[in-house]
Symmetry: C2
Subunit: 217 residues, 2 copies
């Protein structure tokens, strides 16, 4: 599957791009700075043996069946407004957490209640926004031999899009759990400051979550 | 320790009262209906061999070092206003989740952003509100031989109160994790609708949560 990663030069986008390329997907890392995207792709390519290229954000979307949005919250709305036409009927995985530096260990609710709900509002009802992958440590994604001890919660209002993204989560070697409608992205995004608090308090390099008493068929 | 449980005749309050009595604490189950509280205490007492009594909510608080608030969200503000004087400088564990029946699988943010923040606002700054224990299945609490596969997140703004409640969590046989300031109760409360969604979707009797890559000293 062709996957475009907007903001793919950051740690989380980079880690996911690497893992999906390793799983055989055709991944394009996008950035506002095409040169930088190409440099990151060239750096990761030897680790994958697969298809991994870099370009500006617009070109990264071209022909992509799924688009991952991985930008800091400060650039979230502006990036979406700029790519609105291209994203109108696309599956968009939004991993954005509305952190408020320097208080990244405290929950911050944005005006639209969650970044993913804001994305859906900006793009309109035909876009298929799925909120997911907020809790997977980028450090662990970037070590391809590492088995990541974390479940992935997904929420969204389009069941087909949620199924497509669940399959991509499985390709990362992770378990995807259906966490309900897009509105529940409030819970998923709010959990990240808690994980950052736990990391600091218990000196962990990357706390993860697992759900117990759940069997996925 | 003496623990008063406001709304202790509900499933969650009853389960926690039972487990704490088993751990040797002196637990008073409170209810608006003292007769009903006494009946529930009498029903649970043979399982504990400890101290477990019932009374109206006001008497349940008398002399309690820690008070647990376990009422439906619809009764949350009214209950707190009614007991405001008694709770003014007390440690209050608030396990309330602002669910909106019948849509209990969807996150609902109340006016004050979380029930626990609303509790603190009602009681004033001298009350020591700790939000915790939202994710522990009452069904499992009520089976005393059951080892519960769930971590407990705690948040609050008073470190001493948080430490006291953490010790009570350990007495339940569970691991307590410091999830930061009371503001982070938004995350803790929002996670409950996600767990209820998972229970329904994957036919679980009580999904729990565990944090990975965390070692508690």
């Amino acid at each position: 599957m062709r996957i475009g990663v907007i903001g793919g030069t950051g740690k989380e986008g980079r880690g996911l791009a690497l893992r999906w390329a390793l799983a055989g997907h055709d991944v394009v890392i996008g950035s506002r700075d095409a040169e930088r995207a190409r440099a990151v792709a060239a750096e990761l390519l030897p680790l994958t043996g697969g298809k991994l290229t870099g370009s500006d954000n617009g070109a990264a979307l071209s022909g992509a069946e799924v688009v991952l949005l991985s930008v800091p919250y400060a650039a979230h709305a502006e990036t979406l407004h700029g790519l609105k036409a291209e994203l109108a009927d696309r599956i968009l995985i939004d991993i954005t957490v509305p952190l408020q530096p320097p208080h990244v260990g405290q929950v911050h609710l944005p005006k639209g209640e969650s970044a993913a709900l804001e994305a859906q509002a900006i793009l309109g009802p035909t876009a298929k926004v799925v909120a997911a992958l907020h809790h997977v440590s980028s450090t662990q994604l970037l070590e391809p031999s590492k088995i990541i001890d974390c479940d992935v919660l997904l929420c969204g209002d389009d069941p087909q899009a949620k199924a497509t993204v669940t399959a991509l989560v499985v390709d990362l070697g992770l378990r995807g759990l259906d966490a309900g409608p897009l509105r529940n992205s409030i819970a998923l995004e709010s959990l990240t400051p808690v994980l950052l608090t736990l990391n600091k308090k218990y000196k962990s390099a990357g706390a993860g979550i697992r759900f117990t008493n759940i069997k996925v068929p």
